[in-house]
Amino acid sequence: MSLRQLLLRLPRYLGASGPLRGPLDTISSVISCRGQSSRSPAQWNQVVSEAEKIVGYPTSFMSLRCLLSDELCNIAMQVRKLVGTQHPLLTTVSGFCSSEDGDLGLIHDRQNNLQLRGLVVLLISKAAGPNSVNASCQNYDMVSGIYSCQRSLAEITELIHTALLVHRGIVNLNELQSSDGPLKDMQFGNKIAILSGDFLLANACNGLALLQNTKVVELLASALMDLVQGVYYENSTLAKENRITDDIGISTWKEQTFLSHGALLAKSCQAAMELAKHDAEVQDMAFQYGKHMAMSHKINSDLLPFIKEKTGDSLTFNLNSAPVVLHQEFLGRDLWIKQIREAQEKGRLDYAKLRETIKAGKGVTSAIDLCRYHGNKALEALESFPPSEARTALENIVFAMTRFS
């Protein structure tokens, strides 16, 4: 394999779009996957590509420095050895197979998130602009209204997210079944998953140190801690999946979802403000936007299996997604368990049947309401920023996520 070929493939190995692929190409490929989603693909595509133009350069967040390093070539080589095994790392990093919960929406969503996080950090940096009061202490290297340190931050956000995505793909060796293939392959897969995740984290730490701002380091480190906890909860609920749902109310669900989906974006947005020396109030608004936008985004993707026009019977959904949790809350635990039992046939859950049951209840509509509630909160937070094309782009992202028709 030539170096160029290798490099071309690297981003795919790591589940990210690299600098060698056109940004629009990547975005549109992600969008096209969402063909059947509730959002109009053309409209979503437009929102994102306009947003990309605003931030001035491609949202390819894995820096070339990182991609060209020996270690990454090493990882790519090692991952190639995994091809043909059943290790989930392969599915995580290449993003074309089904995930552990088989939820197609979630996968596409993950790919989409990958682009979106960095993009939002850049957009909000631009929307806030340079700090007028404290202009003297700024870095001079501003491109398209965004400081280079804010661009690094967007990259770090993606690195942390991707690292956890890779670490999510570790398998428990003592729970392997014969269908998983040889133990040795799985051990090797785990090894590579740990190493590549750690490598990305080390790069993130390195990038953070270069920002020379202790508050930003603390914010992103705490975001990493939140994310780890969020993934931990997610894993523990996934482990129980297909058997019975967690007895959690929507408030607990929101707390867990903030950790696993919102904290990183919220704190990165806040950190972007800190880098431009904006005051605490602006930082808080950026945090609020990131948080509510991420929540709204997560609920939107949770809703996909319930509002698609045509759905394959085989399509499953996460029993701990927003509409299901809300449905359970309306119904009461006992009735819900009864409904699950009714949808079970020979120990297998009939998702199509259960979906119809849930759609008949109030869970879906209140999830839509919740999605809009967070969307509105995000828009409210934006009001404190001066009108600009970047702000409009951030608003459009929210509009695209809260449109259900």
Partner: protein, 421 residues
């Protein structure tokens, strides 16, 4: 020199030298009251700083290492009295990371007031338990000891101040945390089942959770690091994290050429072990003293001691028995790794080359390699190499102004050579 010190053992404990009649093995410890007091201060700093379960065993280990009398193992209570405690059981001070600095998430500090569900608490508790699993005081606490001693030595060198700054204590904590995070991940990578005499995190909770525990410890270390509020220090310790990962990558590859192979081995040793010690020594020196020459001394001391430490670790993998090490021996061979003794043995027995290249993968390779190593002078040569690194470390640290802590660091480097676990 009779001085009250609000020790970690509660208000009633005072420091005093052991009252006669001395138990026979304590007399041979031959510590002057003054040096005993300094040692006590070091122990106290450690308690404040590591905020991990630091047991008397470590305090003991420290005392004996500082006085280079480690072989004189006396009974528990007598040594406890040297340290100023009446009741040895009460001496097991359990300052936990989480309680002391609120870094790990706990029930009281959940950001969102709305939660109170039991599931969340149970899973958080489990995550905490995993993260604190290795902070149980059973480790050698080698890194925090060096870091605290170095902090004091640098402070004395700079302005004769003996106190350790809070930020320097934090570095000792962070060093141990980074080390532990890497242990947790290494154990998954190697699929190891025991460490420090107990099961590894991945064997108890499974790999999926263990990797998160490692990440959580790393994030906690990063938060603590950021809170020190010094960007230079952040850069120095970030280098460690990068080195640890790069070292792990070096371990994946192997070199055909013999000379290259040895350089590769030493580079790996530096990155995986010595970088942490070197850079945390440098970090405390940066915090304690503005002179770049001192930073370099601290770094060089840590680097050389660290390499020597790992070389001896590699020797012990061949010479020690499992009970002593708390982990299985010949582990490196089983993992396909050619360490110092193997590389030296290979010079005498070129037939080992093939085995190294196939990473001891053929049946019987591990046993044959072990025999070759024991027949060769690989163990002695590696020990000799470690000695050379230690001498370098001693000559570096000797450039600092004399102090009991400096001498303790010199003795510690000798301890590294003679340790058997």
């Amino acid at each position: 020199m009779q001085s009250y010190h609000p020790g970690p053992w509660g208000g009633s404990s005072t420091w005093h030298s052991p009252s006669p009649p001395y138990p026979p093995h304590l007399i041979s410890l031959s510590l002057s009251p003054e040096s005993c007091f300094y040692l006590f201060l070091v122990v106290w700093d450690l308690c404040c700083c590591t905020r991990v379960f630091l047991s008397l065993r470590q305090a003991e280990g420290l005392l004996s290492s500082c006085s280079a009398q480690a072989t004189l193992c006396g009974d528990f209570s007598c040594r406890a009295r040297v340290l100023g405690a009446q009741d040895p059981v009460a001496v097991v001070f359990r300052l936990r990371c989480s309680e002391a600095c609120g870094i790990f998430p706990d029930q009281g500090s959940n950001r969102c007031p709305c939660i109170g569900r039991q599931e969340l608490f149970i899973s958080t508790a489990e995550l905490r338990e995993m993260s604190e699993y290795h902070f149980d005081g059973k480790g050698k606490a080698f890194r925090p000891i060096i870091v605290v001693l170095m902090a004091r030595a640098c402070n004395i060198h700079h302005n004769n101040a003996r106190n350790v700054q809070a930020s320097q204590r934090a570095i000792a904590l962070i060093a141990e945390m980074i080390h532990t995070a890497s242990l947790v991940h290494d154990d998954i990578i190697d699929d190891a089942s025991s460490r420090r005499g107990k099961h590894t995190v991945n064997k108890i909770w499974g790999e999926k959770k263990a990797v998160l525990a490692g990440d959580l410890i790393l994030s906690a270390a990063s938060i603590a690091l950021a809170r020190i509020g010094n960007t230079t220090v952040i850069s120095i310790l970030t280098q460690v994290i990068e080195d640890l990962v790069r070292g792990e990558f070096l371990q994946l590859g192997s070199k055909e050429n013999e000379n290259e192979r040895f350089a590769h081995y030493l580079e790996k040793t530096f990155k995986k072990t010595a970088s942490l010690i070197a850079n945390s020594c440098k970090a405390v020196s940066v915090l304690g003293c503005p002179d770049p020459a001192v930073h370099e001394i601290a770094y060089q001391y840590g680097k050389n001691v660290g390499i020597a430490f790992q070389l001896i670790d590699d020797v012990l993998d061949f010479t020690s028995c499992s009970e002593q090490m708390g982990k299985p021996t010949s582990a490196d061979l089983k993992l396909g790794l050619a360490t110092g003794p193997v590389l030296f043995a290979c010079q005498q027995f070129p037939e080992m080359n093939a085995m190294i290249m196939r990473r001891f993968g053929s049946p019987g390779d591990v046993d044959r390699a072990l025999q070759y190593v024991l027949q060769s002078d690989g163990v002695q040569q590696t020990t000799y190499l470690a000695q050379r690194y230690c001498h370098k470390a001693v000559s570096e640290i000797s450039k600092l102004r004399p102090s009991p802590e400096r001498d303790a660091l010199i003795q510690l480097s000798e301890m590294v050579l003679t340790r058997d676990k």
